[in-house]
Symmetry: C2
């Protein structure tokens, strides 16, 4: 049914290359009249099957191969999973970038700090602005989210109008930035929206999500409750409204605020540069407040997800250069646990509790709200925009499928679940799957970027389970072993502790070589293979393991 997709025609097509099948790694393409519009280029996060991988990128080879057709990249907002891949991948695309002031400021910093620095042209577009990117006319519609300046995109083409929501919620009192532009959504609905491509993160969530204003009131109350020691609050660094709320709550309780963690300073700097945080007062560095009495202090720390190198993880582990927390101090987790991060978070929380710290989480107190729409808000969005079709994005398959089911229940004609790499027609013909394109995941591994499905990573995973063994065998021309075998078996034999294993393996090697027929002894490949098989058989029997095995043969 599906076919590999080429160049878009008069209709309007949509291709997710990331974000439809996972939360994170957002990268969406809209295609029309031979050109592509890219929306977002974000990173994904690691996977517990491969702990060494922290950063995942979408595989962009489809669009890289036709980058001449790429009219531009529009960034919906400044979260890492929407713009974090730009420093890694922009040089393969070299397209114009469009972003609102806050996202542009943050992106500029990131591009400057990249190694090597990336010099990409960013066109700063105003909130509510409207501009052409090739054959796409893009109008920004301000929404609310957990970061300043979240934008939905109204994309007008010769084939019709579609709305791409980005990440959003309807926060009636967002504190930072304006309210969601309901009038604009209603106007789009009146104009006629062919399709809405929308956020599915919280489709399993019912009930009212609450507002940032409520969190501010709650924090102001709570910061007065823990009078005896220092208070640390951890939250997502990019939540500028939350930072402002913590600053307000601290001021109301006569406490000064220190920021601990580099990404907080990066956010604050970008926020101030673009007109936010005007009322937040001063933020101090951790060493500026070393003489301030502990009960006059609030630390804002990175590390709400237990990230090992974050400020709070280092404080919890007792390895932070300036900040210590202990008996009498309190840590507030003004954040949620992202699924998959539980063990790291709990490990850090256990360390804090062991030091005598009092923990307060969003389980006990109202100190966090989500930035994504629960199902009631999604339904409200649909009543405003009245799309003829819905394509759920920003979710795993279970989210996308539930979102589609809900949309159908709310009377949307067509709700189509597509995953990364699938091409769907949105306008100019029936809404349906019309092709597929190459897609996948790349990983940032040290200073390299490589496919997730690479031999290097497969080997690494095999070694994680089974260890590795390399044996050097020195034989004469007749195939007689003339040196003791040299064996390195990391992750399976500890040379300091397992002397017997080492000696037994050497014997296995000697026997394997000695047992070969004279003609085979003269054949390098045969000697290597005999030793390889004997070594593997030995480890299977003695250790229940199949190490990654290689044999170096030296013939003298």
């Amino acid at each position: 049914m599906t076919r590999t997709f080429g160049t878009p025609g008069q209709d309007l097509v949509f291709v997710p290359l990331g974000g439809a099948g996972e939360i994170g790694m957002n990268l969406y393409l809209y295609g029309h009249r031979g050109r592509w519009l890219m929306v977002d280029l974000g990173i994904g996060f690691g996977d517990d099957s491969m702990p060494a991988i922290d950063v995942v990128l979408p595989d962009i080879r489809f669009i890289e191969e036709r980058r001449k057709e790429l009219a531009g990249l529009v960034v919906t907002h400044a979260h890492e999973d929407h713009l974090g891949a730009i420093p890694y991948l922009w040089s393969r695309l070299r397209c114009p970038i469009y972003a609102t002031p806050f996202a542009a400021a943050l992106l500029e910093t990131k591009l400057k700090e990249a190694d090597p620095p990336v010099r990409a042209p960013i066109t700063v577009v105003p909130l509510g602005g409207r501009f052409d990117v090739g054959p796409f006319n893009v109008e920004l519609v301000s929404l609310t989210h957990s970061i300043p300046e979240p934008n939905a995109l109204a994309i007008r083409t010769g084939a019709g109008l579609v709305v791409h929501t980005g990440d959003w919620k309807f926060d009636p009192h967002p504190l930072v930035g304006g309210d969601a532009d309901m009038a604009a959504l209603e106007r789009l609905g009146a104009e006629g929206v062919e399709a809405l491509v929308g956020d599915s993160t919280n489709v399993f969530v019912t009930g009212e999500p609450g507002s940032e204003t409520g969190v501010r009131e709650s924090l102001t109350h709570l910061l007065g409750q823990y009078g005896d020691g220092a208070i640390a609050v951890t939250c997502f660094a990019s939540n500028v409204a939350r930072l402002e709320s913590i600053a307000h709550a601290a001021a109301a309780n006569g406490r000064r605020v220190a920021l601990v963690g580099r990404s907080l300073w990066r956010i604050v700097e970008a926020a101030r540069r673009t007109g936010y945080l005007g009322e937040a007062g001063s933020f101090h560095t951790d060493d500026e407040v070393m003489k301030v009495p502990r009960d006059r202090l609030v630390y804002i720390c990175t590390g709400s997800q237990g990230e090992p190198r974050s400020a709070l993880a280092r404080i919890a582990g007792g390895s932070h250069p300036c900040v210590t927390l202990g008996r009498g101090d309190t840590v507030l987790f003004s954040s949620r646990m992202i699924p998959g991060n539980e063990r790291e978070i709990f490990r850090m929380q256990n360390q804090l509790v062991r030091s005598g710290v009092r923990l307060v989480t969003d389980r006990e107190q109202f100190i966090h709200v989500s930035g994504h729409p629960g199902r009631d808000e999604v339904e409200r969005m649909y009543r405003l925009v009245r799309p003829r079709a819905v394509i759920p994005i920003h979710g795993e398959v279970r989210h996308l499928t539930e979102h589609a089911r809900l949309a159908r229940g709310w009377g949307v004609d067509t709700a189509l679940v597509v995953e990364d790499g699938t091409v769907a027609r949105l306008a100019g013909g029936p809404v349906e799957v019309v092709g597929e394109v190459p897609h996948g995941k790349l990983v940032v591994d040290g200073s390299r970027i490589m496919p997730f499905e690479s031999e290097v990573l497969r080997s690494r995973k095999r070694m994680m389970f089974n260890g590795a063994v390399v044996v050097t065998v020195v034989v004469d021309l007749g195939g007689t072993l003339v040196r003791e075998p040299q064996i390195t078996a990391p992750g399976i034999i500890d040379p300091a502790a397992d002397e017997d294993d080492h000696a037994a393996l050497a014997k296995v090697v000697r026997t394997a070589v000695a047992g070969l027929a004279p003609s085979l002894k003269r054949d390098d490949a045969a000697v290597r293979e005999a030793v390889r098989l004997a070594v593997r058989r030995r480890f299977k029997e003695s250790h229940g393991k199949k190490p990654v095995t290689d044999i170096h043969l030296v013939r003298i």
Copy 2:
């Protein structure tokens, strides 16, 4: 303050070797008059920092070294984290084992299936029984939990009486086995309990947990709602009451029940052998029901935690030999997500949804209750038993600390948080820490058992992040390279794809050898070290990596 502990005297001491600092790996020692009583010997579960490790065992060297002092092992109940380590470790202890009929039946099967089989003497003790184990008089007190025959232990010694709760809840309608013996708890309270050592799993949970009977009613209703296809229910295999409930619900809706997953059969067999499941009707094998219409079928499947080799994971992945699920079928998760398992569970759920399966979890429907006591039940337990002191167990530090805080709030004189390896006096003197003993974690790795903190596992972790490299260098007596270097670099160079890397590394090796002073060239260690450093420097620069590195030097 603390000192290494030796042999217990006239007082009564308590030493957790597992379970105080983690959920799982339960192993508790009570010491009195030169003898030790062991309570439980369970496995722990892997850790996402080391995905290759599935099974963790408590490090028993403290008690192994004094096994003559070990009077016996009492098993509180049949969960893996309370008896699962016996097949691995009993041969190092060789002590008598005491268990009630169901746990004894299950343990016998496990010991028989172990490789090699373990022949351990199990004394079957009746529910409510009372018996001597060395200087300890042990009385079993029936409680309720998510498995048949959960027992608290009333341990009477010359120094006084303590109560060890095991895992428990107060289920007013437990369905399988009797009710919790409230009268016995009250009687113990009247007798005077020096200390209660108790379950902390759900100390953060408030509100009524609900009963198995409620789950049965809900399942009976729900199994009538999904009339169109097959229904699969996944739950913890050892929850015999749940199995019976599913069987009842199936029968009420005219559906036959097939068990999919070996551990289900092991549990059902042990349950039937000890008088449970009498009213559950027949369970079929998956191939027995292949001709039964799908809308007349309920599969009970292992795999509620997304375990990769479980029945449901194989069905979801399309690799199960008998069972397929797809459009029109429904899977009920009659279980909770154990923290840390979210990603595996969601991965499996996404596969099921992609096949068109309808998912029902405990988020949408009342189809699971916990087996552990929420804080209200813990308070109720304290009102009955009225312990003078409380030692929280079965929890991470954050659970233990919260449990202790609650206990103090309920008027308990002393609540002492101790972690694995700490010796606490419970009776015969002040309740306090009196020493410490060696403790730790062992891992089952293939057919070996080794310390978690071993060089072998450290290497494996390093290789997971950085790969490994072994270079064989052949030089003559003067130190001139006489063969091309042989390089194996799994997890960092793919020989098929990275030819340039390979060639560049060979050049680095040649240059390193050639650059040595003539005197050093004749020194094996110097040649090896020069090559090792050059190789590591190269990978740091070119790949941002520090592979595990070894050099094989052959001099001819």
